[in-house]
Symmetry: D2
Subunit: 363 residues, 4 copies
Amino acid sequence: MNKKELRVALLGTGFMGKAHSNAYCQAGHFYDLPWKIRRSLVCGNIEAELATVAKQWEWEETASDWRAAIDRPDIDAIDIALPNHLHAPAAIAAAAAGKIVLCEKPLALSAEEARAMVQAARGVPTLVWYNYRRVPAVAYARQLIDEGRLGTIFHYNATYFQQWGADTSRPATWRMDPALAGAGVGDDLLTHSLDLALFLNGRINEGMATARTFAPGRAVDDAISALVNFENGSLGRFEASRFGIGCRNVNAFAMHGSGGMLRFNLEDLNRLEFFDASQPSTEQGARDLLVTDMKHPIFPNFWRPGHIIGYEHTFIAALAEFIDCLANGKDFHPNFADALAVQEALDALQRSAKTRKWTEVPK
Amino acid sequence: MNKKELRVALLGTGFMGKAHSNAYCQAGHFYDLPWKIRRSLVCGNIEAELATVAKQWEWEETASDWRAAIDRPDIDAIDIALPNHLHAPAAIAAAAAGKIVLCEKPLALSAEEARAMVQAARGVPTLVWYNYRRVPAVAYARQLIDEGRLGTIFHYNATYFQQWGADTSRPATWRMDPALAGAGVGDDLLTHSLDLALFLNGRINEGMATARTFAPGRAVDDAISALVNFENGSLGRFEASRFGIGCRNVNAFAMHGSGGMLRFNLEDLNRLEFFDASQPSTEQGARDLLVTDMKHPIFPNFWRPGHIIGYEHTFIAALAEFIDCLANGKDFHPNFADALAVQEALDALQRSAKTRKWTEVPK
Amino acid sequence: MNKKELRVALLGTGFMGKAHSNAYCQAGHFYDLPWKIRRSLVCGNIEAELATVAKQWEWEETASDWRAAIDRPDIDAIDIALPNHLHAPAAIAAAAAGKIVLCEKPLALSAEEARAMVQAARGVPTLVWYNYRRVPAVAYARQLIDEGRLGTIFHYNATYFQQWGADTSRPATWRMDPALAGAGVGDDLLTHSLDLALFLNGRINEGMATARTFAPGRAVDDAISALVNFENGSLGRFEASRFGIGCRNVNAFAMHGSGGMLRFNLEDLNRLEFFDASQPSTEQGARDLLVTDMKHPIFPNFWRPGHIIGYEHTFIAALAEFIDCLANGKDFHPNFADALAVQEALDALQRSAKTRKWTEVPK
Amino acid sequence: MNKKELRVALLGTGFMGKAHSNAYCQAGHFYDLPWKIRRSLVCGNIEAELATVAKQWEWEETASDWRAAIDRPDIDAIDIALPNHLHAPAAIAAAAAGKIVLCEKPLALSAEEARAMVQAARGVPTLVWYNYRRVPAVAYARQLIDEGRLGTIFHYNATYFQQWGADTSRPATWRMDPALAGAGVGDDLLTHSLDLALFLNGRINEGMATARTFAPGRAVDDAISALVNFENGSLGRFEASRFGIGCRNVNAFAMHGSGGMLRFNLEDLNRLEFFDASQPSTEQGARDLLVTDMKHPIFPNFWRPGHIIGYEHTFIAALAEFIDCLANGKDFHPNFADALAVQEALDALQRSAKTRKWTEVPK
């Protein structure tokens, strides 16, 4: 591998293929990267979509079968943006070929599959696209927590509500097929919430969940809710739904600790609410922080205070940090092992939803 | 009983004694009541507090023992604002004496006790002070639901977070003694959320809960969270806490149905958020309704559009409607039977928190 | 005058008559007043309205002509809630009779009239019902300013927008008659904004205004906007309208100073936004203060943290402070002299709107 | 000029140079452009900055003097992102050389200069980077207005507040030198507000303004406020400040019309508040529209509903539309003539601030 160039093959040309393509284009613009990125090859089995992605995002070559990318010696990194059921075979093959592996979330269809992927990828650098860790407001939340500003955490509550599931006129996609997507909204949305929870609040010991399919004849879960106990003693609650009418993309969390409160909602991703309980009681109130200061994390790579960023910037920031880690021999997070932890928690909650019992998350 | 006069004895002189006193003063000012209210007798065993309440709120007589009120022929109605453990003995005695009975929430220390109270009070009119049904925004929410504007309900989520429990320097009150208050935050805050849920979304079939005491040595629950299944098919979630740092009095609910969404927070009680899913997709958004229109329920009795009301007005409106029901022989809600339903749901959730199992709410 | 009793005559039975009646009922409930208030006499020339107010709010006597109140020796205080054109004659007569005088805002139809009223009332205690100074959030804003927390003020901006003026189907009231109401929205709404500005930001040196009547055939101003220079060097802007579609009762101000920012809106009167520029830049954000703490001004007389108050409480608090001042020989504000300052500023702006020139406010 | 390729020379390497560079990179990714863009040449006289921009944003060539770009036959378009005083000479030279001209705002240092630029550029296509017209929420506001949803407009109010001017420790830039920047905040921020006002509400007939310099010794205006009369009969108000403590980048407007209200703030640029006065009064409230629907303007080129965009996307969308206009022979807006209208309004207001008189805006 040329030390100064990262030759990437992207597998998949859907919405995520576009988001990743953008990251490959933009990382070098906003960050002074140690390595140059080449958009070498894009693979997809929908011909028109492939052609469009290749042209719009200037990929050098195309292939209709993702397997074509695996063994090419002129590819350094494989980025998997395929439907969920292909994450494991593609990642395992790529790792076996010694490639750097980037993979869309969720890592796998099951915890078991995820374990096999972690095992297979032990020797190669990995990244999983739980991109919301790189929202500046989320990174800043983590910084406040690390500084002890929240104190002892009592409550961690997360909601991920979208509404499109209720529109039964939409054509079914692979997301509605359990063989391709997994159990439904849990794999799709709850995993994002779980990753943020593990990132911000630590390990989940056990949980109790319930799932629901509202649409007649649908084979996947439309909603899942859970109560959990975190290792740090806090009480947790998660709820994810595709029937959250009124919510386009509400990926929200709230933390209440002895030192204060934090609240976040992805629809307003440049903002973080912070309640500082160390202030005099008359001055305590939720502060509306616009996380665009030149001293906030991540943001300064983009624009200037008050000039907000969007959804896609989280991919750019994750990629830039990954390349920095690659070039400097540092560990990147979230990697396959981090994503396995999400999968283990999800698996315990999905089993709980079936058994109707509190279920431990394996260590 | 003089048909034109309601002679009231108030038992209790704490915060609720003040809120009820205010309602007795104000109901006749804002409503053209069919009966006149007389503040005949106030009872309390804390001498200084009793004197103050009697003087400030102009009660005609005082007594140090609440039992003094029960048998007086010149008293028509007994209003119980005593600590929780006295609700049952006072209410049963008052009902036995043929009095109209008004009782603070929660109705009782247990479902069993509540059942006995309902039984004892079968022959007399009753009111339970689940006053938040009379927030204009809540009443209007109910109206929208009754009109079918929310459609099929998918999610009913409620939060009641306060933060004072985390201040362990506060002197303990009867609220921290299970023999006087019941199991803690469930009896105190969750009951408000449950009453609103039953009012707005109907019966709860079963639930799964977990409770937590964060303060060392405390004998009552500081937090309780629950997942429930409603009879109407919707998925429910409740969480109540006295460790909700950042929240002074967040009594909030959100409903997501095929027709739209409603959101409410008691800290902004003049507002209701309404998302109407029947609008064109480009025009769909949460509407911030200031529920102070002359065509909104309840509000027109008070002031004019945009001139907001406060916490206390809910007591005034409840009382005025109760007196109207008394005068016109109509049933008032919430009465003892309605409050028993809250107690049954609470009881199932509190048992669930101990057994860690899904628990049915008895019909 | 009986030192322990304040015998009040209320002139006027409209919306303000109701708001004042409520204050007379409630002040002694929430405050331990040094003097007892008697609702001795209410005067009104609309028979049905008079009967209702007298009955609902328990006034001892009624009279159809306000002049009947002036000379009665058993009346200590005259409260004027009549249409604007009667403020001057009633107040001057009452003061001549040696009465304590309370008067609705605006004080007068003109600065000239107001000057005569101040002159006439030199010997008697006065109150003008610029009640919004007693919103706890406004009182707390003043406290923060007095403590220097805002630093040097750069901008003071105020908006008072209502929307009812655009509904031309409403029956005309005295508010649409310049002989009875003055020039329109300026006298009605802008005066509230001016009083708060003088209270919070000090004297206005000069201003430049423009006024507009949108409704065909209407004889009063529907909107007025102004730029002003404050004595403290800050730049001010005012806008008041009855055509502020979308705004039911938006009485708002924002102050930007070297130390921070404050924002307030009467529709959410329990809240104050405070931006503290002395915090680290990463932590600077508008704080949403719920001004219901037991250490906040005014609020603790009412309920407990998070149990919000409404519009009417501002009248109660003003009255309670006035009585405290009367009993203890202290000056109350806003009194006639304070209200004259509002009138002088208004007058300068209204002249400016006609001359289209910058106009000085006389000292 | 090759019809299938637009060879661009960018003059300037500051913050705007970066924003424009990004647009040239990204337009072809999100839009299927009729022409290919080549980043042919970037010019800048700060060597290190030039090298960085050239490298990070992959410009083919560099030059230290902007004049080097003007006469090159292999350049089709000149994009001026230089300090304000160079807009006129660069634009006039580029137009004289027959180039397509893109120019940062404000167009010029004065209306007179702007008129000369319009004259010089009559024969060539032009674009001025008043990019906020391409915020989807703003474009959607325009659509609602065009559909008559706002009815007759009564009020158009705009605020552009930043706070960095109060930080006198910042090193002075060309923005503080009137010879390079013009009169200050008016040229910088007010022009954005004026462009949006002209776009959304039409021509301004006359205005009355006042300006202020708060920082000692500063030669430019720190704040400017104005009242205006629009040709459509509505009353307008503008205020722009670099001393708007608490505001990082509040570029906001509100429109109140007989049909409803619109409100926008650039800090939350994915949102538009819409109050629809045609709804029943009980259901009227400001709707919080997340302008990310696939039927909203502009947004669908980027991501999917609820996946928000940022500041930079407005440049991308403007550029893409400009290229579409070039390829299809359509007029683009805002062009030099549109920007001249902004300049005429600004000029009238700045003259008014000096004369303290109402001042007409020339037609």
